[in-house]
Subunit: 307 residues, 4 copies
């Protein structure tokens, strides 16, 4: 059984112009990430444009990643779909492709309920041997996972981990405390925020899944190492540098496009500028950044010493 | 080119205990609907548990329906998925299966924007010859379709229809007026509400897509016929009867399960009680109604003269 | 005991440049309304900028109105504040000033609950002899009134009426049906929408409280009269004319100002253009409409034959 | 000019059975707080039931507090109302009563806009000499304050401080960074959370306004002192102890009452159990805790060593 810890970037997915997976870029991006010292990779998370990928492209992403990583770090695979039977299909693919763990959200599109979400995780548990992470992302699924339910499912061996992208740091702190008070030492707890990673680690989180690590993996690894070494001031400074870098995600204004396009577009543009990938195209119907926005991103990267 | 009008029920999907499609029940349910005089069927809408159906089950639903209906009424097929490329895959299946029109929501899971939603419909338009209906269902996708965008897309030949399940009757009225003022006579406009069908028809809607028609198709056909015949009082009385019948959807309280399970569970239970289908099981992770709730539904059906 | 029925406009409040009440304009506006045949007036509702008025200005509005109307039609007074004790103070003022009925929302600012909202109305009932209308306006107070609670409170003599500005026409229809089924003939039910008045009356509503009647009271009186006379087509045409007129409320775009300012600013600008009031200034911190927006409103009024 | 720093509890307001202010209890509670070493008090914030207090009771609270504190620590006064002119009235009272600073939210009840919120603060600035804190509390007012606006207003001398109760710790971190990058050394930044105070201080916050300090002021003072002294582990342990104590706010379940009543009811019950105040009654229409809930709170206090 893999033990999960450290910086596990939610990988962006490089495309060719026809929206097939650019596997060369994907491998190069993986090399960049591994060279920076990341401790795992999370494919097919929200940052991967998983919501935009047809099933066969999803399979290419995970197969390419598992093959290229070749066991050096664990590979977590998002199994993102609306309800149990559809998620179960993605789980089967992830298993076949050799993923080390699965990441699953609450049901969405349907109007759900905590009792149903709990049922969802329990049923999926019965269909796979792989560790399951609960993915708490109300921004996407419009439901917040209930803390007592998570702890109950962890106690029953249903959940092996949590990726908390809810932005509720107080709730995250209470989750970590609940884990300790119940002795649930096997439950891995990760923050999905890129903006308070040092604080999450200080609170006892096992690690982070920061989207911005696609652009600067070394920065997040440095935060992790510094907190481990007790250099909290250094970790804070690094986090603040990355908080400034995060400004690239608002280069495109909300009047012009969705916050999804603006954020992922900025990540991909920066990844291309840094040479990690060849093509920053995003899957439809997302809109491309314009020249002015790209120039602003370039400026921010330069200030951050990344170009 | 099919012209769309009248009562087009969003069909519930009968399952066997293993959650495969109960095609015998589906055919029997279609016979019941056709015998009642409905003017079209909408498969793979929200009432079909489309969010719960794996792709191969979706295909069975649409193929079975198209074959069984055999051209007697148009078959609309929901192509419900998160973004453009994924929806495009469902469109291909619906085309192959012989659907007469496609029903498509705004993107979801991702944080979207009107400019991206518009792009979404335009790109899909370029991929199919079939009429596309925009499905306005903020309850599921958490975005309301912009009225000016709908009218613009209709003017450009991108949209052939709208199914408005937003519950915003004032906006619906403005949409109908906008259609008339712009001379968009080819745009079919349907209400997705089951509760104000007579009023929607009075405002100029072409028809309705009422979930409750799964339980009482004749009632909705009667409303349509009466409004056509100028019997507005009779239509109102019939709508009020159906409004009372709708109480079955809250037999299960919100403390116990999601409003999706409660509503669809009630429809399926009533369909079984009325002999339309054999099995009222719902796809996971939805919870089943309990005996007390089923008894309450039976009582309401009896009062309504449907048992 | 006054019986409430018909068109009861929620009066806008004319100000002088120092934001004191322009009582001359208020009286002139009342004369315009009464001459148009309205059946009551509602002062200190949301359209009055009640949220912007200090207590002493609120008192001036209601005293001026009661004195000027002089019993010709009933005067309803909004008692809009966050919780019970604060609302009770406004009730005392409204009683002293001679209002005929009180209009009260759910608690807001605080995170409330149906049991507390019910308690709120019951406590207020014990403090006044005047009829109390429940004001269902989730847009402002972020809570929807529970239908079963309203009917229970009406049955217990706590509520004498409802003004439903929730935009939920299906729920409104169910409320009217619930009233009939329980024999609550004393409960007056009004729609607060200006866009579906004919339909609300058709469903059995006693009347409407349309903000747009500040600009065109005769139009709404005509809808009421036509529905009463069975001329449903005529009523529909009139409602459609007013729906087009309602476009003035979006002359100012959402990028530039709040939807409150845009709507009330348009009403006041149109009232001034039509000579009903002298000054269209709005209370701070609302922003004024600009010349282009005012010109657009003028154009819409001209098209509507109102200038 | 007062410099604001440290632990500034948002005081709960003790009532007599007739809902007048229990000034003896208020003074005793102030003594408890001051003895614990708190660095300021915030009266008429959300925890004070300000939304429930008539104006004359608000005045008693602030006058009693200013007189009793007698300059030992600064007194911040909430001026909580819907819009500019109404807030201005509360400001006048707070000035007369001798408050040291004012705390003001965005407009509410009305549908507002950042341009209007900015106008709101600028207009209020022109009406008082006292420092103004922006109170960011979307839970109550349903709008999040824009970070760029806050920094702009601070740069222009409009705002002297921010109390951030939004729960958005990433945004809070960005605000602190923005303050530093712009050299806005005069802007006091406080977290309104009680659950991540040590982390907020670590990020550079000047202090905290924790509701739970009504129950355990010494705990929060200890966190502040420890962070100052560099004892981050000790601060974390203390914060975790208080996080466990916070469980009292969910003794009453969400099915039974609003989260406001449940939280403030728990604070007041605990304050009474600890002898700080005589009466734990809450203003209407809030519901009282029942015996079982009180017993649970007593148990939590005992475990925490506070009884």
């Amino acid at each position: 059984m893999t033990r999960f810890t450290g910086i596990i970037p939610p990988l962006c997915t490089p495309f060719r112009d026809d929206f097939t997976i650019d596997v060369d870029s994907l491998r190069r991006h993986l090399d960049v990430q591994l060279a920076a010292g990341i401790h795992g990779v999370f494919v097919l998370g929200s940052s991967s444009e998983v919501a935009f990928l047809p099933d066969r492209q999803r399979r290419v992403v995970i197969e390419t990643t598992v093959a290229h990583v070749a066991g050096r770090v664990p590979v977590l695979a998002g199994c993102i779909d609306m309800t149990t039977l559809r998620v179960a299909e993605h789980i089967r693919v992830a298993e076949e492709a050799g993923a080390d763990a699965l990441v699953v959200t609450a049901p969405y599109y349907t109007r759900t309920h905590t009792a149903e979400i709990e049922q969802h995780f329990r049923l999926l548990r019965s269909r796979t041997e792989l560790p399951i992470f609960a993915y708490d992302i109300p921004m996407a699924v419009h439901t917040k996972l209930d803390r007592a339910m998570i702890l109950r499912l962890a106690g029953d061996g249903v959940l092996s981990g949590v990726k908390d992208s809810s932005g509720d740091e107080a709730g995250f702190s209470a989750l970590l405390l609940g884990r300790r008070d119940r002795g649930l030492t096997d439950l891995a707890v990760f923050t999905g925020s890129e903006l308070v990673v040092d604080l999450a680690l200080r609170m006892g989180a096992d690690g982070a899944v920061p989207g911005l690590a696609n652009v600067d993996p070394a920065g997040y690894v440095s935060i992790f190492d510094r907190v481990r070494a007790g250099d909290l001031d250094g970790a804070r400074r690094e986090q603040e540098r990355l908080l400034r870098l995060f400004a690239i995600t608002s280069a495109a204004p909300p009047e012009r496009m969705g916050r999804g396009s603006a954020g992922l577009g900025a990540f991909k543009a920066a990844m291309k500028m840094r040479g990690f990938i060849d093509n920053s195209v995003m899957a439809p119907p997302q809109l491309p950044l314009n020249d002015e926005e790209l120039l602003s991103i370039k400026g921010t990267l330069t200030e951050a010493g990344l170009l």
